[in-house]
């Protein structure tokens, strides 16, 4: 009786191990801003992830194994994000996805690095990839890549000699403000007003009054999506007519939806946009709209790309190995011709930063119009 029991137990163990090795789903963990101030960011990111996983699983998965993801809500709060990431890592995921807010990435990335799990995130603060963390990867440009392009555009195209800088007082905003003011100094562009605002701020009347008083040639706005929409409305309300320039968030789909007419004329650099003149991006947009019934912003693209980064890296390794994942992704170039889900050719450097083509866009009649395509550097 007892020998029969052990034989059965052994058989069950062997079967389970074999299933894990061959057919068991590959577990991914996502921690994102599903509520709170970053809900737009987190929900777009989550939907992009779910769409990519659905596509990949429909085609047989990665190396024959299905992808399976759990989503956890950081409530746009770094403290909650840290707790959720710790909980997610306890379940030993293959790769950690998110968060999107730089402040949340900053407090969670040491946990993932300690666990030896690659973290593919949406944060854009320059400092995130400067600390030598070998497990952290971006899905979009860091500020150190995008801000020089913005400053160059303001100098060359707008010919502005003085700029009011409005930024959100968190890791994302402060990082962007520090990089752009350094870049302005290179062009001798004067910072006419340096305005720090709060995350979740509802009333921008006083800030816009200060901008009017400073009389700049242009305004650089670096806020999260909802705040970007509110300040655009207030700028229109107070009849500010100088060019408005931003980076990614200012000209995002959600901002355009929330700000309405007030978004018209806003310009910005975007690393990812669903209005990009790229066939694969257009196809992605159609699939996303069909599934979710709205046009995603760049965060939807980021989430989608994160999953195809996992697929391409795993295919390259030929095995599901969480420990070797980060090493493989460093220095990897993924070509859209080989992996269409990656949408545009992309290269990851040793820090986890990316090199990919970018776009300069303007909002015209409520739509992003690509004015310039900035090619991939290498």
């Amino acid at each position: 009786m007892r020998s029969g029991f052990f034989a059965g137990l052994l058989l069950a163990t062997v079967s389970a191990t074999a299933a894990f090795a061959q057919g068991a789903p590959i577990k991914l963990a996502d921690v994102a801003e599903l509520s709170g101030g970053g809900a737009t960011v987190g929900n777009n990111w989550k939907n992009g992830i779910d769409l990519a996983i659905e596509e990949i699983n429909a085609k047989g998965g990665v190396l024959g194994r299905k992808l399976e993801v759990t989503h956890a809500d950081s409530q746009s709060n770094p403290g909650v994000a840290r707790a959720q990431v710790q909980k997610a890592l306890d379940n030993e995921p293959y790769v950690l996805l998110g968060p999107g807010y730089s402040g949340s990435v900053k407090v969670t990335s040491p946990l993932a690095a300690e666990a030896g799990i690659a973290q593919i995130m949406g944060g854009e603060a320059a400092e995130l990839t400067q600390g030598g963390n070998k497990f952290l990867f971006r899905t979009s440009f860091g500020q150190q890549s995008s801000m020089p392009k913005v400053a160059k555009y303001i100098n060359d195209e707008l010919k502005a000699k003085s700029v009011a800088v409005v930024w959100v007082n968190n890791d994302f905003g402060k990082g962007g403000r520090d990089v752009i003011t350094k870049e302005f100094a290179k062009y001798n562009i004067k910072v006419a007003a340096d305005l720090s605002t709060e995350a979740g701020q509802a009333d921008f009347a006083a800030d816009v009054s200060k901008i009017k008083a400073a009389a700049p040639d242009a305004v650089f706005i670096y806020l999260n999506e909802e705040e970007s929409a509110r300040i655009l409305k207030e700028l229109k309300r107070q009849a500010v007519t100088v060019p408005l320039m931003g980076e990614t968030t200012l000209v995002g789909q959600k901002v355009v939806e929330l700000a309405g007419d007030a978004a018209n004329g806003a310009r910005g650099h975007v690393g990812l946009t669903t209005d990009a003149p790229v066939d694969l991006v257009k196809a992605f947009r159609e699939k996303f709209v069909k599934k979710y019934n709205y046009v995603p912003d760049h965060n939807g693209l980021k989430g989608y790309l994160a999953i195809y980064m996992i697929k391409a890296t795993t295919d390259k390794m030929g095995k599901v190995d969480p420990k070797a994942f980060a090493d493989t992704l460093h220095g990897l170039t993924i070509k859209a011709a080989n992996e269409p889900g990656i949408l545009m050719d992309v290269t990851f450097d040793e820090k986890g930063d990316i090199d990919r083509q970018g776009f300069l866009v303007e909002i015209v009649e409520g739509k992003q119009v690509v004015k310039q395509v900035l090619p991939k550097l290498n």
Binding site: A202, A206, S209, K233
Partner: protein, 291 residues
């Protein structure tokens, strides 16, 4: 100087909306000793009711009417019958805590059934600008200010010049005596709840195009209006109006001349100073209670 004019106009426009909400605070307190800590969420909800009606295919004007009617039903009648009446008999404090719970419930419900993300909301005031004293001022700011002032004047006339207003005041001052002289006290109390519901619906209509419709948008508003009511005088409608306008202007001036980071603290400092030197508020009347 010109910058100051911009700040004053913007501050008065926001302050007028705070005043509407603060008046609701004082009305409920005076007639039924209700401190409604869900007042900010009461401003948030009507916008979502109107959006829900619009999503069903109705035009904006119909959404406004239905939104206000639904607000009267839910935030006026429903609030009184389902929460205030059962809780008030246990004292003011349990009721205040119950309204805090209601605030959390309303926020979470909107987040779950509508969205955690902000939504755009149309403005009833057309876009455009006018020039006043050489400054370009938006029609939206002026429209919000004008509408809010019109409502406040209307309410003041109702309270001071009509029989119903006198009965409401009698109810607020001494419900026992009011009942003896034939005032339908219960009906007057219900009327104040309905007026509060109308005021928050109107505030919602005016503020949401600027702040956007979001489940958490009531937090800031509720706090600002509560401070405004105390600063102006919790037991006087005119005090709440003055307090609302003052807080709106002080908030804007603080953001411009003190610091954006400390702007939220400045009205609270003002509140502390006024409590220390004039506990009844700027225009309130002293109240004494026996124990």
């Amino acid at each position: 100087m010109s910058n100051l004019l911009d700040l004053l106009v913007a501050g008065l426009a926001t302050g007028a909306i705070y005043a509407l909400v603060a008046v609701g605070f004082t009305l409920l307190w005076q007639t039924s000793q209700t401190i409604n800590f869900a007042q900010g969420e009461f401003v948030m909800l009507p916008a979502f009711l109107m959006l829900a009606v619009m999503h069903a295919g109705a035009p904006f004007w119909l959404a406004i009417i239905l939104g206000i009617l639904l607000s009267l039903l839910l935030l006026g009648l429903g609030f009184k019958l389902l929460l205030v009446d059962p809780m008030l008999r246990h004292g003011v404090l349990p009721l205040a805590i119950a309204t805090m719970a209601l605030a959390i419930g309303m926020k979470e419900a909107v987040k779950q059934f509508f969205s955690a993300e902000a939504s755009p909301f149309p403005s009833i005031v057309p876009a455009g600008d006018v020039s006043i004293l050489g400054r370009v001022i938006s029609l939206q700011s002026l429209g919000v200010l004008a509408l809010a002032i019109a409502v406040v004047i209307g309410l003041t006339l109702l309270l001071n010049r009509t029989s119903i207003g006198h009965q409401m005041q009698a109810t607020a001052q001494n419900p026992t005596v009011a009942r003896i002289i034939g005032v339908p006290v219960e009906r007057m109390i219900l009327l104040t709840f309905l007026i509060n519901a109308f005021l928050v619906a109107l505030a919602s209509l005016l503020i949401t195009p600027i702040y956007l419709a979001k489940f958490s948008s009531g937090e800031v508003l509720g706090q600002a209006a509560f401070i405004a009511a105390i600063v102006g005088g919790f037991n006087q409608v005119r005090g709440a109006i003055a307090g609302g306008l003052l807080i709106g202007v002080v908030d804007n001036l603080a953001a411009a001349y003190v610091s954006t980071q400390y702007r939220a603290a400045v009205p609270m400092v003002l509140l502390i100073v006024i409590i220390l030197f004039r506990p009844q508020g700027l225009l309130g009347r002293p109240e004494e209670r026996t124990v």
